[in-house]
Assembly symmetry: C2
Homo-oligomer: 267 residues x 2
Amino acid sequence: MKVRDLMTPVSFFKIPVDMDQEEAAKIFSKYKLPSAPVVDADSRLVGTLSANDIIEVIEEESTEDIQKMAGVEVLDKPYFQVPFREMIQKRVTWLCVLFFGESLTALAMGFFEGEIEKAVVLALFIPLIISSGGNSGSQAATLIVRAMALREVSFKDWWQVCRREFLSGMALGVILGAMGFAMIAVRSQFSDIYGAHYLLLGLTVSASLVLVVIWGTLCGSLLPILLKRLGFDPAVASAPFVATMVDVTGLVIYFLVGMAVLKGTLL
Amino acid sequence: MKVRDLMTPVSFFKIPVDMDQEEAAKIFSKYKLPSAPVVDADSRLVGTLSANDIIEVIEEESTEDIQKMAGVEVLDKPYFQVPFREMIQKRVTWLCVLFFGESLTALAMGFFEGEIEKAVVLALFIPLIISSGGNSGSQAATLIVRAMALREVSFKDWWQVCRREFLSGMALGVILGAMGFAMIAVRSQFSDIYGAHYLLLGLTVSASLVLVVIWGTLCGSLLPILLKRLGFDPAVASAPFVATMVDVTGLVIYFLVGMAVLKGTLL
């Protein structure tokens, strides 16, 4: 009797020897393989790969994605083993990029300095409005980046993602907008800080919140898909990058809404 | 001859049957085990666990951590399979919590309304300064949360983390502060937007950046350690939570520095 009659036929999953490790990890994870043969371009057996080799790749991958998503270059060593100088280098690049991006807010606000001068009260809500856009954008970016890493979402789904996130953004924006309006209306019953036109101010803040949250959600969900399409890693700094983008555009949205609503009263 | 003489002695790693799955995943990952016996409280064999069972746990764990870190409640299904209503529920809670937290910025700025009225130019740098604190805080939080998930950092390391992140924050803050100063100084050579006291304004902005970045880095690194110590999951909303906290306190730092530096000139 030959071995032919004893053997278990070779697994359906032959892993090409030059396949990307991450790619192989996806296959192991999806089909729960304990091990798989590794073959060369001519299907000749050259080795085996087992699930315990793959665990390390999956953990490293996740760590890399998490670090990139927060705007840190990938650390290749545990936290305490990265030399101080290297730690700074890994963090400073993205911080500087984000700083330059964010410095556009100072530029954008420069255009509206006259409006702020006339209605200082408008300035009070700037951090609240832009950070709400940034937070909803970061949420969307994180969900989509992770879904793409797990192959749940790909470029061909962009329109479906777009529709879904537009509706999500609208729902979330309306909820935050209502809270913003209520906050201003209630506080105005007990204090004079928002002046006589507090209802118009509330309208400005809540309408801006709706628009900024929709905009943040759309940017956050579509930017990773676009990055991937252009050949970049969608995880790269996605959350802070989206937040910075939405800070700048959110400011412009807020002041344009303010100019439309408050013309003739506060402005 | 008994089996005793044929067998490979049982692996050093006996996994208790009621061990946490994540805990077991760490052991598999650390020692690269292909499989391990599972035993009950009396060391009686009750089953086996293999690396391919563990892969799924590791992927789910990472996905959960990533979602929590962005302030999304854990989705238990792939992106497109989560019903719309559930998707909104998973996102709205943290957005509302962050909104309330961030609304403290409007309150804080209310206290400095007089200062903004006197020097509108101060308002222009608010988003830049608070978001720099938020970004550096998010970076630190992400690094520490991941390092804790991989057991590289634990509570007993808090003082070492504190020292290291204080120095990191200082280095990063000085770099961003210098960029902020240069930006204002250069722009003032070509335009009058920052007025005659542009050097003092530059000093205010850069000193605030240094302090806010140090503060953000410290909050970002110590908050996850504290959360864990108090029995909470350190990943929960850490990055946006830290950013919101630093937005509010960063504003106060900025205006206090401004009042100290600009007293008698702009204020």
